[in-house]
Structure formats: structure tokens, C-alpha cells
């Protein structure tokens, strides 16, 4: 997993609630058996029309917005467990998603793919949307060691939750599977005791 400690970037604003993983990556693109290349179909049906032409009113098609941070309304990533959603977001180039609430499975998938899900208050997100509206180049700084996120132009900060274990994984680029493989003897011992 790619390391992440401190990230400063402008944001792409997607002011929609309950963005489900079928929108993030529609089912018809899940047939491939590898992990790469999903970014080009990220938000496919919101991003392109039926003739595969970019829809000018969608944020990813706007020259105004860029950056490694996606900001979205609450309940981001609900629905299907498809990790392809997290792969598409990472492949497109996002390193973090900010939302007032994340769906549980998506949150786990994002954390396993080097995409930081940052849950902050509704107020903070609404302020951020308003600042981006005023200035599309508005930058946010994510300080993972301090668990702090700041809208730099107005110096507004909020703290966010992440458990110590996952934080260590992000800062060092560790995967869960490395940890599990390292305790295999313990798992075998558990199996013997349980039976």
C-alpha cells in the first residue's frame, strides 16, 4: 500500500448524498479479473452520456476542479461491496475522500487501498463546499499523524477518527494481510482450541 502522512491538495466537490458504488463503478465494468484501469470508468454514467461523450455539467469534466481529494455528501460508498469502487477512485488519482458519513464496507475497502476516508462534521463539509464554490483552487491539508484536516484559506480545522492500527498502516504503507500472515501460528492454535 502507498504511504500517506501529510497531503495538501485542492478538492473535487461532489455535493451529492448517498453516492452508491453502482455510480462509482457500474456493474458492467466489473468483468475484468485484474485491479487496474478502473479510473477511466469512475462515475461512468454521470460522467459520460450514452454516446460516450463527456457531460459538461459533471465535476470530473470541469477544468475548474482538480486535485487528489474528493469531497462528497453523506453516506458515501453505500450499496455493493465491490472493491472496484475503491480501485477506481485510487486509479483516478484520489488519495482521500471527505464526507460526513461513509458506508462501512466502502470505508474498509478504501483503507485497504491507500485511499483515506475522512469523516468530518456536516458543517465542515458544507463550509468546504462553499469555499470551493468561491474559489475552486481552495486547498485542504490532511495531517494524518495529527488526525487533523484544515481548509487552508480560512484556517478552519477539524480532527478526524482513525484507529491507531490503521493509522500506522497508512503512515508505513502496511497491508492487513501482512499482519495476518505474521500471526498464522496463533490462528492454527485458535483452531485447535476451538474444535
Amino acid at each position: 500500500m502507498q504511504k500517506l502522512t501529510i497531503l495538501t491538495s485542492p478538492c473535487v466537490p461532489l455535493n451529492v448524498e448517498s453516492v452508491d458504488t453502482d455510480q462509482i463503478i457500474p456493474a458492467r465494468f466489473l468483468k475484468t479479473t485484474n485491479r487496474e484501469g478502473f479510473g477511466k470508468n469512475l462515475f461512468r454514467d454521470w460522467r459520460y452520456d450514452s454516446e460516450d461523450q463527456p457531460k459538461s455539467d459533471f465535476v470530473l469534466n470541469s477544468a475548474k476542479y482538480s486535485g487528489q481529494i474528493l469531497v462528497a455528501g453523506k453516506n458515501f460508498g453505500c450499496g455493493s461491496s465491490r472493491e472496484h469502487a475503491a480501485w477506481a477512485i485510487a486509479d483516478y488519482g484520489f488519495r482521500a475522500v471527505i464526507s460526513p458519513l461513509f458506508a462501512d464496507i466502502f470505508k474498509g475497502n478504501a483503507l485497504n487501498n491507500g485511499v483515506l476516508p475522512i469523516q468530518v462534521s456536516e458543517n465542515f463539509v458544507q463550509t468546504l463546499f462553499a469555499e470551493i464554490e468561491k474559489n475552486p483552487k481552495t486547498e485542504v491539508t490532511i495531517d494524518l499523524p495529527a488526525q487533523k484536516i484544515t481548509i487552508n484559506s480560512i484556517n478552519l480545522s477539524e480532527y478526524f477518527d482513525i484507529n491507531d492500527y490503521k493509522k500506522t498502516c497508512f503512515i508505513n504503507g502496511y497491508d492487513d494481510i501482512d499482519y495476518l500472515l505474521s500471526i498464522k501460528e496463533k490462528i492454527e492454535h485458535y483452531e485447535v482450541q476451538k474444535s
Binding site: V16, E17, S18, D20, D22, Q23, P26, A27, R28, L30, K31, T32, T33, N34, R35, D45, S50, K74, N75, C78, G79, S80, S81, R82, E83, H84, A86, L101, F102, A103, D104, I105, G108, N109, N112, N113, N163, D164, Y165, K166, D175, D176, I177, Y179, L180, L181, I183, K184, K186, I187, Y190, E191, K194
Partner: protein, 456 residues
């Protein structure tokens, strides 16, 4: 004092990481062709094999066609995905219920009907509707592909214990009101994110009197209110369902397990982080009008006048405040891991029997498994559907997520017994109305949104 969830969880903790997640042991993993290939590729890259292949079972379901399953799959990408599952299972000694064989079907239908799903287990699958298996009093939840890889490699996952919610419903359901209506009602009350961060226990007399099929429909849709899973304490109904199934414990082992399973209930003074209570009598046949499963109303009700989700109403081409009853629809889908079990087809047949398919309707009637298909044939249900002008198809996920050819065209309305009405879920631009098999069957014979109670 412990909840049912606490009891199962604690028994499966291999170790707890300080200020981090628990290492949770997984008894059973189910896999399908969409969310597993990258996990097997990960194992190959690391040079490791599947740790406990006998605790893993596989079935192709998402990509599979529902016609001519004896022929090779026409669409190349779908065929390759299914072939990759075959190769991965063969290389790792994983039991596969292949296409067009006796036990193939939708993963969440096959597990319970073969007795792979048992009370007290931890069960995972790279599929959010894994919650279905909670109907047996197990902790069952959907996972991503990285976690599929972890479970294949170590039979464990790193999981933080979720908060717990109990939803109690007492009383008796009215005529024409099914488990599907109950869960759509609950999601409408709690909203599509009301359960986020929680695991739900369903309790009360309404659930006690439900069959296992009904309980599975309930637990299946727990994810649609954001809950990772839902579970119901096992009882005599559960034990009777599991007994003598192909992979259920037999003989002495059965007696031993039964004693364990009888201890699986929430202690009377255990506490939950959140509790809700509803009355069974308040639930009517339910239908959705929007683009998330929380946007539902009683079938004879009106879309809320102050519905804030304008984008959803535009997508559905509905107006705030209007009624759905009597609106013409184009498609009907009866099937999926939510409502693709034998009872669902019996319910649909009870309305369809003696009637004809409406001319404007195209219907997908898709069994959840080969076993369901066989039973429907034996019970004469297929004949009822066919003489009414429907085609009864072969098993698979089908039009629930339209990964195969079974799609709903842009702009068309589909009354569907599946679990998601997201934009484009049943095909680009398709408009989905979630409902019970009774309501779907009623729409199939009248060609419009109809209160099923009028046809019972």
C-alpha cells in the same frame, strides 16, 4: 449480560489489537466470480496457497446467463470471469457448484439450502448481501476483495466490533404483507444510512413466526439501511430448516451442535447502542419510488410532498405528492438473493394462477438456484407461469444488477423483487421500483402498479 452478536463475536476473536481491530476467525467463506479473481491473483503474487480450502465454497452467479446455460457463455468477458473461477477453484481444491450443475445458484441461496450456513458461524463473502445468512443466527457480512484474499490466506479478518442495534416488531402481519414489505418499511423509517456503523438484531413475535425464507429476505436487505449485517436468534424453525441438509452436521455431531445453538440468544437484560420498535399491523405492502431503498411508501400512499431528493424524482420521472397506484410499468423481475426462493415463486404463482401476463409487460422470472428451479417444476409452478405467458428462466443474479443480458432499457419502469433501485442498477437509465413477489406478480398481470391485496 450479552447479546447474540456478542456471544458469536467473542467466540471468534483470535486476538485483539490494542487500539485497533480484532482478529476475527471466519468459519465459512463463499466466493463468486466477480469479487474473487483479484484475490487469487494476490495469493499467487505472494506465493501462498489457500489456508483452509474445505471452508470455502464457490458458485458462479453474477455473470451467468439465464437461458441456454448448457452452451458456452456468449459474452467474452463474462465467460472469462466464470472460467477464472473454475481455474482458481481447481488449483486450490475449492468446492465449486458450477454452472448447469445440480447445486448451482445465487451464492446466498445456495449456502443455506445446502446447510453450509449454520447458527453461530462467522460467514463472509465478497458481496454485500452476505447479510442474508444472519437469518440463521450467524454473523455474516460482505467484504471487499482485499479481505477475500485475507480470508483465503489466513481464514481471518481484521475487524473492529461494530455498534449494535435491535429492531423489535411484535404483532401479526396483515393479508398480502410479506417479509419484503417489512424490510422496505423498516428502511424507509430508518433511511438508507440509519444502520451505518451497526449490526442489527431483529427480534419480536413478527420474526419468530416467519419462515426461514422470510427471515432471509429480512436479513438480506440489512445492508440497504447501511448495516453491515442483521441476525435473528435461531429457534426450532431454524433447526428444522438446517436438519438433514447436505452439509449440515449429522448424527452425534448434530446433537452436539444443537445444544450449542440453543444457547444463541440475547440475554434478557443485555443492552444495545440503539433500539427501535414497530408494530406489525402498521406495515402495508410497500414499494419504492426513488433511487435508494430508503425511498419507499405504502403501495396506496403518496410520494412525500416535501421529498428533498429532487435528483431521484427527476431520474424516476415522478412528481412529489403523486400516487404510484395505477401507473403503467414495462418490466417485472421476480428473483434475486432477496426473493428468489421457492416461497417467493409460490407467492407469485398464487396471484398469476388463472390469469395472463399483461401485454405491455416483459418479465424475468428467475429462480435463485437449480434446487429452487427443480422444486418449482415439481410443484407445478413453472406450468402456472408458462400458461400465463411467462418464461421461467435458469438461475442467477440476472436483472438484479444486469451483469448478464437481463437488462431493463433506459427510461423503462421495472417492478422488481431485488434489493437495489440505484440509478442504472438494472441497466443504464432503467427505473426500478422495489417490491414483494406478490406486488411484482400483481403488476405483471395488470401491467400497472397494483395493490396485491386486490388480487389475493
Amino acid at each position: 449480560m450479552k447479546t447474540l452478536f456478542d456471544k458469536i463475536w467473542e467466540k471468534h476473536v483470535v486476538e485483539s489489537i490494542t487500539n485497533g481491530p480484532d482478529v476475527l476467525y471466519i468459519d465459512r467463506q463463499l466466493i463468486h466470480e466477480v469479487t474473487s479473481p483479484q484475490a487469487f491473483a494476490g495469493l499467487r503474487k505472494r506465493g501462498i496457497s489457500v489456508f483452509r480450502p474445505q471452508q470455502v465454497t464457490a458458485t458462479p452467479d453474477h455473470n451467468t446467463p439465464t437461458l441456454n446455460q448448457h452452451l458456452p457463455i456468449k459474452e467474452e468477458a463474462s465467460r472469462k470471469a466464470v472460467e477464472a473461477l473454475r481455474e482458481n477453484c481447481a488449483a486450490n481444491n475449492i468446492m465449486l457448484f458450477d454452472l448447469n450443475t445440480e447445486y448451482n445458484g445465487v451464492v446466498h441461496i445456495v449456502g443455506p439450502e445446502l446447510g453450509l450456513t449454520q447458527p453461530g458461524m462467522t460467514i463472509v463473502c465478497g458481496d454485500s448481501h452476505t447479510a442474508t445468512h444472519g437469518a440463521f443466527g450467524s454473523i455474516a457480512f460482505g467484504i471487499g476483495t482485499s479481505e477475500v484474499e485475507m480470508a483465503l490466506a489466513t481464514q481471518c479478518l481484521l475487524q473492529s466490533k461494530p455498534k449494535q442495534m435491535r429492531i423489535t416488531i411484535d404483532g401479526n402481519l396483515g393479508k398480502g404483507v410479506t417479509a419484503k414489505d417489512v424490510i422496505l418499511y423498516i428502511i424507509a423509517q430508518l433511511t438508507a444510512n440509519g444502520g451505518t456503523g451497526y449490526f442489527v438484531e431483529y427480534a419480536g413475535s413478527a420474526f419468530r413466526s416467519m419462515t426461514m425464507e422470510e427471515r432471509m429476505t429480512m436479513c438480506n436487505m440489512s445492508i440497504e439501511m447501511g448495516a453491515r449485517g442483521g441476525l435473528i436468534a435461531p429457534d426450532e424453525t431454524t433447526f428444522a430448516y438446517v436438519k438433514n441438509r447436505k452439509f449440515a452436521p449429522q448424527g452425534e455431531e448434530w446433537s452436539k451442535k444443537l445444544l450449542e445453538w440453543k444457547l444463541l440468544f440475547t440475554d434478557s437484560n443485555a443492552s444495545f447502542d440503539k433500539e427501535y420498535s414497530f408494530k406489525a399491523e402498521d406495515v402495508k405492502p410497500f414499494i419504492t419510488y426513488g433511487t435508494n431503498p430508503g425511498m419507499g411508501i405504502a403501495i396506496d400512499g403518496n410520494i412525500p410532498v416535501n421529498e428533498p431528493n429532487v435528483k431521484a424524482l427527476e431520474y424516476m420521472n415522478f412528481a412529489a405528492g403523486e400516487k404510484l397506484l395505477g401507473k403503467p410499468v414495462d418490466y417485472v423481475f421476480i428473483g434475486s438473493c432477496t426473493n428468489g426462493r421457492i416461497e417467493d415463486f409460490r407467492a407469485a404463482a398464487s396471484i398469476i394462477k388463472g390469469r395472463k401476463k399483461a401485454e405491455n409487460i416483459f418479465a424475468y422470472i428467475v429462480p435463485g438456484s437449480k434446487s429452487v428451479e427443480k422444486q418449482a417444476r415439481e410443484e407445478g409452478l413453472i406450468e402456472i407461469f408458462e400458461s400465463a405467458g411467462f418464461v421461467f428462466r435458469q438461475p442467477g443474479c440476472s436483472a438484479c444488477l444486469a451483469m448478464n443480458e437481463d437488462k431493463v432499457p433506459a427510461g423503462k419502469y421495472c417492478v422488481s423483487t431485488s434489493n437495489r433501485n440505484f440509478e442504472g442498477r438494472q441497466g443504464v437509465g432503467a427505473r426500478t421500483l422495489l417490491a414483494s413477489p406478490l406486488t411484482a406478480a400483481a403488476a405483471a398481470v395488470t401491467g400497472k402498479i397494483t395493490d396485491p391485496r386486490e388480487l389475493i
